[in-house]
């Protein structure tokens, strides 16, 4: 699992790549939170377009970040969910806490 972080106009985007399970989530969380605590983004966008597999640890990761950014009234947006990941997201009811974006925008930061 690797992570790329982009900052632009108060939006922090975390681009996730690789399988997202409990093992990976533990590591990602620290890296995302380190930056998020410093910049306090208005929107934290989690980009899942490079995530071929995710279990409920991914939902835990999203929930934890919703909790974090709510400390400064930020919100979490989730993008790039494949149909399989979307099923997981829908099962969890996470849509009521984070906005699920329909389509991933053109690839950023080539």
């Amino acid at each position: 699992m690797n992570l790329q972080i982009e900052l632009k106009n108060g939006v922090m985007t975390a681009v996730l790549r690789g399988d997202l399970d409990h093992h990976a989530a533990d590591r990602l969380r620290e890296q995302i939170d380190d930056t998020a605590r410093k910049v306090k983004p208005r929107v934290l966008r989690l980009d899942f377009s490079g995530v071929p597999f995710m279990d409920s640890s991914g939902i835990g990761l999203i929930l934890g970040r919703v909790r974090l950014v709510s400390l400064w009234n930020g919100r979490v947006a989730v993008s790039g969910l494949s149909p399989q990941l979307r099923r997981m997201a829908e099962l969890s009811g996470i849509a009521s806490l984070a906005s699920l974006e329909e389509e991933e925008k053109e690839a950023v930061g080539k």
Partner: protein, 147 residues
Amino acid sequence: MKQAVNKMELNFPSRSVNESFARGAVSAFVLGLDPLVTELNDLKTAVSEAVTNAIVHGYRDTIGTVYISAKIFADNRVVVKVRDRGCGIADIEKAMEPLYTTGGEERAGLGFAVMQSFCDRVRVSSAPGRGTTVTLTKQFTARENGE
């Protein structure tokens, strides 16, 4: 119950790095059924949840052995057992409630809900101090292989 047409067993220490190995191994084992991508992914996800539970909850503050056995039956039914000899679950019904977790803030409490949604049958047997066995059953679609 009918005889399995194929079976495998594996065990490994309850380190989180082995979560991907475990679901990958089960996934590779059932590949011979020529499964649909969604079916394979469903089973992978359920196995990942069960193994994570064994690691996070069963062996909470210790490293123990996680045992997996998988069987394929002639009707394309797959049965996977994930077993630990960890702390066990006192109240299984409570543990299976969606959103209930003892895993702290970063766990969604969805493990059993996901297993139930992604498999046809989930059975949990557990005894405090003795460990937990989760049995996942999934029916795979019979595929015509153009011979």
